[in-house]
């Protein structure tokens, strides 16, 4: 008798724990931690949230019915209570009923599911186009109409803290792993088309607040669209395994009211024009070293490490390396064109001439390397453009 009660208590506690887990999900929001799908800030994300909640509740109700029947049976129909086993083997009527009812439920679910999918996939006419290219392990954004383009990488603070045994507590970093050096700036209440592709392996561009993710497949363009209702900052991550730093290529959207966005875009174009002018002037060694340290931290340290010692065997050290201490032209060629069959990418198409010049100046004069070279942006521009 005692044994039986213990059993029921343990079983009931387990059932209650599982039920509590489910009910937590059904609760609108849980303090401290987000535990449910975001409602987001687009029509797609809101439809998806509602659809998710509808299906979740249907599942919870089905679960409750099935598990209650089971639990009642477990409590009542036990041998220890002297319950005699009935010997029925089937009931055509019952079986037809519980085939038809699920079919009806599924049909009821399929209706909103179809509408949501059509809304998601059938794009309206859009006002601007952003091309997104995934690289191992950063995103490149191109504003097709505004001719703005830049690369967005994990923020240097997070990038330093995320090293194995870095000694930096993640909670001391704001938005740890979800912060970038340059966010994608977008206007609110504008229909935007995204063209998504990748350069090396498959990535997946995902900002939960937009309500969808889309794979970035090398050699193919995928498209998606959005219209963001609320200005704000929205964060996401790469969602398809893309190699060792898959967990370290976040996405940050900075959504501005339309007029502020236009001001930002104007400023960006001016800055890019300014950068072109910058290429033509002569830079001091100190300027190049300062900029170079930042460029190195953001772009190169992922593989070659902040201390320039690399990560054997895939990522060679720069400290004391033959290339970083060897002929300058060879070093420039390697950085511009990359090295096939290795993780060393062709930076010529990704970074500005100024950034490349600065990074080269830095790596040839840091980590104990003492070439004394000062690489001018114009030199890079000349080599790059033949």
């Amino acid at each position: 008798m005692k044994k039986q009660n213990t059993f029921i208590v343990v079983a009931a506690v387990t059932a209650a724990v599982i039920a509590a887990f489910w009910l937590l999900l059904a609760a609108p929001a849980f303090t401290g931690n987000e535990i449910n799908m975001t409602r987001g800030v687009t029509s797609q994300s809101m439809i998806n949230y509602q659809l998710h909640m509808i299906i979740l509740w249907i599942c919870v109700v089905i679960g409750i019915i099935v598990f209650s029947a089971m639990f009642i049976s477990i409590v009542l129909h036990r041998k220890s209570k002297g319950h005699e086993a009935a010997q029925f083997t089937h009931s055509t009527k019952a079986e037809i009923i519980w085939t038809i009812i699920p079919v009806l439920i599924l049909v009821a679910m399929a209706v909103p599911a179809t509408t949501a999918l059509v809304n998601m996939e059938v794009a309206p006419e859009t006002d601007m186009t952003i091309k997104i290219t995934g690289f191992q392990w950063r995103w490149k954004y191109q504003y097709m109409e505004d001719e703005i383009e830049f690369i967005s990488s994990l923020h240097p603070d997070s990038n330093a803290a995320r090293r194995l045994m870095s000694g930096t507590e993640p909670d001391t970093i704001e938005n740890y792993l979800l912060e970038v050096d340059k966010p994608l700036v977008l206007p609110a209440r504008t229909k935007i088309k995204f063209l998504i592709t990748a350069d090396d392996v498959i990535h997946s561009w995902w900002v939960p607040a937009l309500g969808w993710k889309r794979d970035a497949v090398p050699g193919f363009i995928n498209e998606a669209w959005t219209e963001i209702m609320e200005p704000g900052v929205y964060r996401g991550q790469c969602a398809e395994l893309c190699g060792k730093d898959h967990g370290f290529m976040p996405i940050v959207l900075n959504v501005l009211p339309e007029d502020e966005y236009r001001a930002w875009a104007r400023q960006q174009r001016q800055r890019m024009a300014h950068e072109e002018a910058e290429v033509d002037r002569l830079w001091s060694r100190a300027e190049l070293m300062e900029l170079g340290e930042n460029v190195y931290a953001a772009q190169c340290a992922t593989c070659h490490q902040a201390d320039g010692r690399g990560l054997a065997p895939a990522f060679p050290a720069l400290a004391g390396s033959k290339i970083a201490n060897g002929p300058l032209n060879d070093n420039i060629a390697l950085v511009l064109h990359g090295r096939e069959g290795t993780a060393m990418q062709a930076w010529g198409t990704r970074l500005s001439e100024t950034d490349i010049a600065a990074a080269l100046t830095y790596m040839r004069n840091a980590f104990g390397n003492e070439t004394g070279d000062v690489v001018q942006p114009q030199t890079i521009a000349r080599i790059k453009n033949g």
């Binding site: 193919f220 453009n385 033949g386």
Partner: protein, 193 residues
């Protein structure tokens, strides 16, 4: 008993042969999925490569409906070229023969070869996209510092589904790894002799 055993062995033999053939057939099917997939893509537009390339295609009658076409150009980082669409987008009438111009430039000193592949989004739209000429899937050699215009002549069939409002045509240039610039110079030198 022995007879039964023999009978059983025989029926094992038959069954096993069939099952082994099934397994081998499915192995072949795995490979057959490659051509099958391409056929499937052509039929459904899956992958956005259902575009037909027909030389001297008869252009259907021009319709009043217009659609916006974006032209995207991508260069893989393995190929240090500059590749752009001259016009980023165009509004065309369905059934109207149009021309899109891409521009490729090799800023390096030595000759290089690239090969372009294309796709169309939304993928369904590729079924209504007809090109009369295309530079994709063939090796394109650019001499050092050469630039070249690469035109695409196309039209959209008037029966394009109503829900497609915008189409994107995208080309991606990859480096042709097998290309040897020395062989080319040697070859052209000998041919000019």
């Amino acid at each position: 008993m022995n007879e039964g055993q023999a009978k059983r062995d025989q029926s094992h033999g038959k069954l096993v042969t069939r099952l082994v053939l099934l397994a081998i057939g499915m192995f072949g099917f795995g490979f057959a999925m490659w051509p099958l997939y391409n056929v499937f893509c052509d039929l459904t537009g899956l992958g956005g490569r259902g575009v037909k390339v027909i030389e001297n295609a008869t252009v259907p009658e021009k319709s009043d409906r217009q659609v916006k076409i974006r032209f995207d150009a991508t260069v893989n980082s393995g190929l240090p070229w500059i590749f752009q669409a001259k016009e980023k987008s165009m509004v065309v009438s369905l059934g109207e023969m149009s021309e899109a111009l891409y521009l490729a430039m090799n800023p390096n000193d030595q000759a290089m070869a690239g090969q372009a592949i294309y796709n169309v989004t939304p993928p369904e739209a590729s079924l209504y996209f007809v090109k009369t000429e295309c530079f994709c899937f063939t090796e394109q050699v650019l001499q050092g510092n050469e630039s070249r215009e690469m035109p695409v002549y196309y039209f959209i069939q008037p029966d394009l589904p109503e829900n497609i409002k915008e189409i994107t045509l995208s080309y991606t240039f990859y480096r042709d790894e097998n290309f040897d610039p020395l062989a080319l110079t040697a070859g052209s030198a000998s041919s000019s002799d």
